[in-house]
């Protein structure tokens, strides 16, 4: 950061930021893998290139990879510190620092080859680089990211000890380089979109589980219910089913002296769900009409089997 020319300063800053940045990625990858293992309760739940190996080797390889990433990340961080407190001071363990950075470059180079192999042989598998976030099939972005990190590790081999930049335009330049590199890595990371998606995620209504009791409670508060309540002849609905964001509830009713069914469509929304309704007369030859009134749900022989509603709320 003491180089006079702008290109030289840029290059020096670029070299400086690589060890901590690579360390952060390695440690993050290891922690994400550990999180996946903890959630699933098994090391076997791993993804990525370990799947290319024979079964007996997958578990030890997954553990070895995770441990190696963490060790390498910590080593990169530790060896980047200087001996003294002044800018320009030498690394306290220059040989170890160089060795660690060479190891990181070799590691990412192996990753490039492994991901290319994975893409060719098992295109359906995610790279598993960041645990659950890396479930998308391995693509060129993941491979390019590994290649980029290989290059980053290579250029960092000769980088000096890390200091905070001076508080002038040099700090802004340094920060700009960090942001640019992070942005480039983000562009090459399919995991970013997955992570953003999980942040503040709520299920869309088609996938949301909402108790049937809430649907019935919402229905009974509705104007549509009050409009038809007098005609409804049973306490319990005779049928209830769901399609996407709507739950349909059917009650038998009498209308103008004839048997009919009223169907309510209740939107699966937690607040102020919309309710739509329609009334269908029963054909005179239908079994329900012939018996004088529609058969209530509790009289069906296989109500659980046909997904009727009696099992989901208490009997009156």
């Amino acid at each position: 950061m003491t180089s006079p020319g702008l290109p030289a300063t840029l290059w020096a800053d670029l070299q400086d930021i690589q060890p901590p940045l690579i360390a952060g990625i390695l440690i993050g990858g290891c922690l994400a893998k550990l999180g996946r293992v903890l959630r699933s309760g098994s090391v076997d739940a791993g993804l990525g290139p370990t799947q290319l190996f024979p079964l007996r080797l997958r578990r030890p390889l997954a553990m070895l990879m995770c441990a190696f990433e963490m060790s390498l990340g910590l080593a990169l961080l530790v060896t980047v510190f200087p001996v003294g407190t002044r800018s320009g001071a030498a690394l306290f363990a220059p040989r170890a620092a160089t060795g660690t950075r060479v190891a990181a470059a070799a590691f990412f180079l192996v990753c490039v080859a492994a991901l290319a192999e994975l893409r060719g042989r098992r295109p359906d598998l995610g790279c598993g680089c960041f645990g659950d976030f890396s479930t998308q099939p391995t693509g060129w972005r993941s491979i390019a990211r590994a290649a980029l990190l290989t290059g980053a590790a290579l250029i960092s081999i000769e980088s000096p000890a890390l200091f905070l930049p001076p508080r002038n335009h040099g700090a802004l330049l340094f920060l700009g380089i960090v942001c640019a590199e992070l942005a480039l890595i983000a562009v090459l990371s399919p995991e970013v979109s997955e992570a953003l998606l999980r942040l503040g995620y709520t299920d869309p209504c088609e996938l949301r589980q909402l108790p049937a009791e809430r649907t019935l409670a919402a229905l009974r508060r509705s104007r549509q219910w009050r409009k038809h309540a007098q005609a409804i002849t049973t306490e319990l609905p005779i049928d209830m089913w769901r399609e996407l964001c709507w739950r349909y509830v059917v009650y038998p009713c009498r209308l103008d002296g004839k048997n009919a069914e009223v169907v309510f469509a209740v939107q699966l929304r937690r607040r102020r769900p919309m309710v739509a309704t329609a009334v269908l007369p029963l054909a005179p030859d239908s079994p329900a009409a012939a018996s004088g009134h529609p058969v209530p749900a509790q009289d069906w022989g296989h109500q659980e089997a046909m997904q009727l509603s009696t099992g989901v709320y208490p009997q009156a």
């Binding site: 995620y201 869309p204 996938l207 919402a218 996407l244 919309m274």
Partner: protein, 400 residues
């Protein structure tokens, strides 16, 4: 040999005719409250008594068969026709064979099927037509445009998809769902190596999906239908989050199963039934891959084979108990997105152009709709526009 045991429960496929009638009525009720925008019901078919009457009148006039049932008269069914109402596919038992002709006894009687020189027979592997024997259970895909000429024949084919619960030296017991009897699977020594390439862990707790020859009470596993997930079924990864609303059409793979009854043979099993009103057929494990919008038994689902372009609207007949725990892809034509989106009966799978020994085809599903005048479940609608979408229905007529 592992001894079979396990309780049998009942789902829609063995519910009585009253249940089928109730399920069939669901589409009428739904159409009354959420009328489809275009169609024979007309734009005036809104909520209310008048609209409901119009629905009833339209149905009475066209005589449409209810969902999940097929009128043989309407479908041109003849002797030996598939009970599922899938034209071009015949299922039955071989009663007589000769080099050129086989006689098959199906639900509608005997039928003679010609075997042209190019006809392909699968019986544990590609075989000569002379390999067919009396008593073989067969699925026949007819030659296009020729009703009595076989194109492909699968004999005694079976499939077991599920969770290993017991393992013996050469056999295993597989849990295929809570309402279905556990399946005994026999692995012949000559097939063990081939199966273990893609299913290396044949231990309790792991998943299997084998295709083979159906024997008396067991399956002789011969072909791996997919690759085994590396984890135990109970350790499946969390399903991916879904952005915004679920997609209009969901792509994945369609697989097949051995139908267990007429209703099952007419419909399609769907992996995501509403847990609040679901029947006993819940998925084996809680994992969902991908997460699918919730539907119910009786909902209409359009299944499209992306490899052949054929599409059918089928009623959901039950829960695909094992489909959601396999997060695999189908590579029949290109690589499908991850996950199984439909589980078809054998006849339906074959009718849509699938080959049983492959185990899957690349498919998309969307919420289907069938107007009262539209064809029954087995009919082909190639290239037809999407009949529905997996998005919320039209605006309702009332508001709380």
């Amino acid at each position: 040999m592992v001894v079979q045991h396990g309780d049998l429960a009942c789902c829609v496929r063995c519910a009585g005719p009253a249940s089928a009638e109730r399920l069939a009525r669901r589409q009428l009720l739904k159409a009354a409250v959420h009328p489809p925008a275009p169609g024979p019901l007309g734009p005036g078919a809104t909520a209310g008594m008048a609209a409901a009457g119009a629905v009833e009148t339209a149905v009475a006039r066209t005589g449409a068969a209810p969902s999940g049932t097929v009128s043989p008269e309407r479908d041109g069914g003849g002797p030996g026709r598939s009970p599922a109402g899938f034209p071009g596919v015949l299922t039955g038992t071989v009663v007589d064979t000769s080099p050129q002709v086989i006689t098959i006894y199906g639900p509608d009687g005997e039928r003679r099927i010609a075997l042209p020189p190019g006809a392909v027979v699968w019986k544990g592997g590609t075989a000569d037509p002379t390999a067919l024997e009396s008593g073989d259970s067969v699925v026949v895909r007819m030659h296009p445009g020729q009703r009595s000429v076989a194109d492909r024949i699968w004999a005694n084919v079976g499939r077991v998809t599920g969770l290993i619960v017991e393992r013996d030296r050469e056999s295993m017991l597989v849990d295929v769902g809570r309402t279905t009897r556990r399946q005994a699977v026999l692995i012949p020594p000559h097939a063990m190596g081939r199966l273990q390439v893609r299913f290396p862990r044949l231990e309790p707790g792991y998943l299997v999906d084998f295709i083979g020859l159906r024997g008396r009470g067991f399956l002789e596993a011969l072909v791996p239908a997919t690759s085994q997930p590396a984890y135990r079924a109970s350790e499946a990864p969390a399903p991916a989050a879904v952005r915004g609303h679920a997609a209009v059409r969901i792509a994945g793979s369609a697989v097949w199963h051995e139908a267990t009854g007429p209703v099952d043979a007419d419909g399609v099993r769907y992996p995501a039934l509403d847990p609040e009103t679901a029947c006993l057929e819940q998925p084996l494990a809680a994992a969902g891959c991908p997460r699918l919008p919730y539907l119910s038994v009786g909902s209409l689902l359009e299944v499209r084979n992306e490899c052949t372009g054929s599409a059918r609207v089928l009623p959901v007949s039950g829960c695909a108990a094992t489909a959601q725990i396999f997060c695999d892809r189908c590579v029949t034509c290109g690589t499908s997105p991850r996950g199984r989106v439909a589980d078809l009966p054998m006849a339906g799978f074959v009718a849509m152009g699938g080959d049983l020994e492959r185990g899957c085809f690349n498919a998309t599903v969307s919420l289907g709709s069938r107007s009262p005048a539209s064809p029954p479940p087995g009919s082909i609608s190639p290239g037809s526009p999407s009949p529905g979408s997996l998005s919320p229905g039209p605006a309702p007529t009332g508001r709380a």
